[in-house]
């Protein structure tokens, strides 16, 4: 490669980085995975009062597979802020001043890898990898949530923020919510698309919003089960 070409390339890189900054894209996020959370995803909902400890062999399997999975996780996100008063539905956004929308994903590799194991009939391995991937998607969203709060610390000063809340939760109609978010953010930049019926592809993806303002409803998006109306949820913790 000649020197000129090299210079042009790095110029291109720079420009691309700049553009990505503008549209706020995060790539190669480093996330932490917690074996206990993965175990929780692998229990039936009746196990709450059951205090059986996970067998050590299972814990070891999970730890080993987590290392394997981390190599296939490509955590990425895109986000941006918008004026809340323009947004629908009003009951979610009317008390807010700025709303941040985000789409996060762990990419397709781990999903494909998991499916391959399941297709081979390696069911136990498949379900463990699947639980790791689900937890990783959650952790990616958590990481992005923190990054947004850090980056907007100036705007947030003197104001309150909600926890993140997602279409499909908190009475936010899934179809409409996804339409709003995907119209405002160019999800192709992180390789996420919507199917004909509003499911995100890759599967292990999460979309969410955070409201910022002097009078935001701080209960909104409180993610603990106490405030959730999915009483029969398999993952309800209380």
């Amino acid at each position: 490669m000649g020197a000129v070409e090299l210079a042009q390339n790095s110029l291109f890189e720079l420009k691309r980085n700049f553009e990505e900054k503008k549209v706020k894209i995060l790539k190669n996020l480093v996330i932490k995975l917690d074996t206990n959370e993965i175990l929780r995803l692998l229990q039936s909902k009746n196990s709450e009062d059951n205090i059986r400890k996970a067998p050590q062999a299972l814990v070891d399997d999970i730890k080993r597979m987590t290392d394997e999975a981390l190599l296939l996780i490509q955590s990425r996100a895109i986000y941006d802020s918008f004026e809340s008063k323009e947004l629908e539905p009003k009951f979610l956004f009317n008390k807010s001043e700025i709303t941040v929308f985000a789409i996060c994903t762990i990419g397709k590799k781990l999903e494909t890898h998991t499916r391959e194991h399941l297709q081979k009939g390696e069911l136990a391995k498949g379900v463990i990898l699947n639980a790791i991937a689900s937890h990783a998607a959650e952790q990616t969203a958590e990481h992005v949530n923190q990054t947004i709060l850090n980056e907007l610390s100036m705007e947030i000063q003197g104001k309150d923020t909600t926890c993140r809340f997602s279409p499909g939760y908190c009475q936010w109609e899934l179809g409409k919510g996804q339409k709003t978010i995907f119209e405002l953010l160019d999800s192709s930049k992180i390789g996420v698309s919507l199917t004909s019926s509003m499911m995100m592809n890759p599967v292990k993806s999460v979309s969410f919003a955070i409201n910022i303002g002097k009078e935001v409803d701080k209960e909104l998006g409180l993610r603990d089960c106490e405030n959730c109306d999915m009483f029969n949820c398999a993952y309800r913790r209380i």
Partner: protein
């Protein structure tokens, strides 16, 4: 340990090679295949109950299903010779079009297979037409439709409506499932039932075939 106790322990401990060894023994020593399958089946049901009660973690149940399947593969040729006639319900299963979440569906398919159903898994993002064509082709007893989201579960209704339009609704039992499925939705679209996990899905499949 009696032979059926050995079968049980192979399944409950998810020991694939022991399950295979026991199945081979049945074939070679010309023991009663039906009796052996019953012993294995009892064990996989117990594994299912242990999971539902919270005693078993999902990978433990899955390992039991793997061991069960390994044994069934060995029994299969004998069963196909038709000497032993066991009724095996025929199931067409898939995740509805627009929905690409297939883990739940795969788990249901695996447990049905482990319990001796003849399962045709169409995969994910399956058009209504494909479900119906396959069900007619293999003369299925049950159609199982999975959906993860409220926006994708509408496809379950579409499928049942199509069956009605074609006047073949009565030919099949239709079971639906997935996280957002409620009793109300089952009634609204006229499905034959729904179950919240793979273990109760098998119980339900057996029940609707008895009716």
């Amino acid at each position: 340990m009696s032979f059926s106790e050995e079968c049980k322990s192979a399944i409950l401990s998810g020991d694939i090679s022991l399950a295979e060894e026991l199945a081979h023994k049945v074939i070679h020593e010309k023991l009663d295949v039906n009796e052996a399958i019953d012993a294995f089946s009892l064990a996989i049901r117990e594994a299912g109950d242990l999971f539902e009660e919270g005693e078993f973690f999902l990978p433990e149940l899955m390992r039991s299903a793997e061991a069960m399947k390994a044994a069934m593969v060995i029994f299969q040729p004998v069963l196909e010779e038709g000497k032993e006639d066991r009724f095996r319900g025929k199931v067409v299963i898939g995740t509805i079009e627009g929905d690409i979440h297939d883990i739940g569906k795969t788990l249901v398919a695996s447990m049905l297979t482990a319990e001796g159903f003849d399962v045709h898994d169409l995969g994910a993002d399956v058009p209504v037409k494909t479900f119906i064509e396959k069900a007619i082709e293999i003369d299925a007893n049950i159609i199982c439709i999975s959906a993860l989201l409220t926006t994708t579960m509408v496809g379950q209704k579409k499928l049942i409506d199509q069956l009605k339009e074609k006047n073949i609704r009565d030919k099949f039992k239709v079971l639906i499932g997935g996280a957002p499925i409620s009793k109300k939705w089952v009634e609204e679209i006229g499905a034959d039932g729904s179950a919240e996990n793979a273990v109760s899905a098998v119980k339900l499949a057996k029940k609707v075939l008895e009716d």
